[in-house]
């Protein structure tokens, strides 16, 4: 079993299938706050749902209202199971803490591919 270690932004345990993007994600206006489906027409993950997935991406982009979107998704049970991010910034940090989404940053995200099945515990990611 392969192990990756990063820095904890919000500590927690989660398991799930990876949804990975090498492009930044904007939450406000680009992710449907009801369903968690990515609706950014320019984005490679257009049409995919982040709900229940281990979302892997380099960093967030766009409006700081993105933090509120993450909380909104949690309330509707459509939030990601966990977030693994190259370099965390304000938008994701605030959203993850309020929405209680386990989040780790400072990870070489090229190590993770869509549909990898991973287990997250604190600062550690294990690939099954």
């Amino acid at each position: 079993m392969e192990v990756l270690t990063g820095r904890i932004i919000y500590a927690g345990k989660a398991t799930g299938r990876v949804l990975a993007s090498d492009k930044p994600i904007g939450f406000f206006g680009h992710v449907d706050p009801e369903t968690g489906i990515i609706k950014d027409k320019e984005h490679p993950l257009l049409g995919e749902s982040i709900s229940g997935r281990v979302l892997v991406f380099p960093h967030a982009k766009g409006s700081t209202v993105g933090s509120y979107i993450l909380y909104s998704l949690r309330k509707k049970n459509t939030a990601p199971a966990a977030i693994i991010i190259g370099e965390c910034e304000l938008i994701v940090a605030v959203g993850a803490i309020i929405a209680e989404i386990p989040t780790i940053d400072q990870i070489d995200i090229s190590q993770l591919q869509t549909d990898d099945y991973v287990e997250i515990d604190g600062d550690t990611i294990r690939r099954a």
Partner: protein
């Protein structure tokens, strides 16, 4: 990150879940920005108030904090909202928008945040002094606090300002640290300015030139009178934060930090930006046309002195086009008690509180052509609100409102 005993107890939830969450946010920010410890702040200005900006997800977010019994432990006050709480109906804003906006204000009030709804808290008694740390959010207020008052603040977002208000702390990074307050550019203003509003044009040009740098104005001659000087500094800082991301500037022979210890903020080898003329700024900020739906003054929010000067300039004339002066409810109350509001209403002027031309949903009022004396407003209205916008001096704006068409 080093945390004090109190900070640790907040983080461990000994004073409740809201304070714990707030501390978690601040610790995460501290990590991201490599802060060594926290700094105590004496006040917080809360962003993320306008429903136009935060929408329903924002309401859910604030409701969550209220459900956690969040309460502020330092003076905290609100940024402008999308409507005037008292006049929204007469002004034609929709009830559906107003209900949501009033809900946001009410949620923030439940946490103990004062509904100042203003970008000029320094006109409302919140005047931190030199070296005092605060957590403010509105970009022009941040600039004013750092530069004119010599206080120390980063530009906070909604959740980080709220977390600072709940804990009385913010991570020590950015402009809270002395070494990050040094000038990055020397600005040589070579043209003569005759109106306070023209300082906004200088700000527009400098913001474009320095981006998120820290300009040092080595040759700027500020207006003599106190009222004009404050107007000039407000509009200068506001414009630099709109065309660029300037949160701090120094002015030769004037700003307190520079007066106190020039060597701490100025180096001799700074790149020089020369401003020879304001014409280029006027060309960028004054669109073509004469059609005029609205003249909007009060960006940043007007002081009582500015409102009095506008009333005096209008005299017994009447406006053909709508003329708004935007300010805080507190200043509006003072203006009303001295008879100024009646006088202005008589001249066809509406003094509007709680909001402004930049954050109110103007499109819903069928407004398309707007005259402004603020370079910041002229910067944002075309892009954010889709308005045809004309910049003019305060006097040119008022003359145009009286004529009912843009004259310059």
């Amino acid at each position: 990150m080093h945390l004090s005993a109190i900070e640790k107890s907040l983080l461990e939830g000994e004073t409740g879940t809201a304070a714990k969450k707030a501390m978690e946010i601040l610790v995460a920010l501290g990590k991201i920005f490599h802060a060594q410890d926290m700094v105590e702040v004496s006040s917080a200005q809360i962003a993320g108030v306008s429903y136009q900006n935060i929408g329903d997800p924002g309401i859910e977010f604030l409701t969550h904090w209220v459900e956690l019994d969040a309460a502020v432990r330092i003076p905290a006050f609100m940024n402008p909202a999308g409507i005037d709480r008292n006049q929204w109906k007469q002004m034609g804003f929709s009830e559906s928008f107003a209900v949501k906006q009033l809900e946001i204000i009410s949620l923030l009030q439940k946490m103990g945040i004062a509904p100042t709804l203003s970008c000029t808290p320094y006109h409302l008694g919140h005047t931190p002094t030199i070296h005092e740390h605060v957590a403010w959010s509105e970009s022009s207020a941040v600039s004013y606090a750092n530069s004119v008052l010599g206080a120390r603040t980063n530009r906070e977002g909604g959740p980080s300002a709220l977390a600072a208000a709940i804990t009385g702390r913010t991570p020590r990074f950015g402009l809270h640290l002395q070494e990050n307050r040094r000038a990055t550019h020397r600005i040589d203003v070579k043209c003569k300015l005759t109106h306070a509003s023209e300082f906004g044009l200088i700000g527009y040009l400098v913001g474009k030139a320095v981006g998120n740098g820290i300009p040092y104005f080595c040759t700027l001659t500020l207006p003599e009178g106190e009222i004009d000087r404050t107007s000039a500094l407000k509009t200068l800082g506001a414009a630099m934060a709109a065309s660029g991301a300037v949160a701090l500037y120094h002015v030769h022979d004037f700003t307190p930090e520079l007066l106190e210890a020039p060597d701490a903020v100025i180096s001799s080898d700074l790149p020089v930006v020369a401003i020879d003329s304001i014409e280029q700024a006027i060309a960028s900020l004054r669109q073509q046309g004469t059609q005029l739906d609205l003249v909007a003054l009060g960006c940043p929010h007007s002081s009582i002195e500015q409102i009095r000067e506008i009333a005096e300039f209008i005299g017994d004339r009447t406006c053909k086009a709508k003329l708004w002066i935007t300010t805080s409810a507190a200043v509006r109350t003072i203006a009303a008690s001295s008879g100024l509001i009646d006088q202005l209403n008589h001249a066809g002027v509406n003094v509007i509180a709680d909001t402004c031309m930049v954050v109110a949903p103007l499109q819903s009022l069928d407004i398309k052509y707007v005259g402004v004396d603020s370079a910041k407003a002229a910067c944002y209205l075309p892009s954010h609100q889709g308005m045809t916008t004309y910049w003019g001096t305060t006097e040119q704006c008022i003359e145009s409102a009286i004529e009912g068409q843009w004259k310059f």
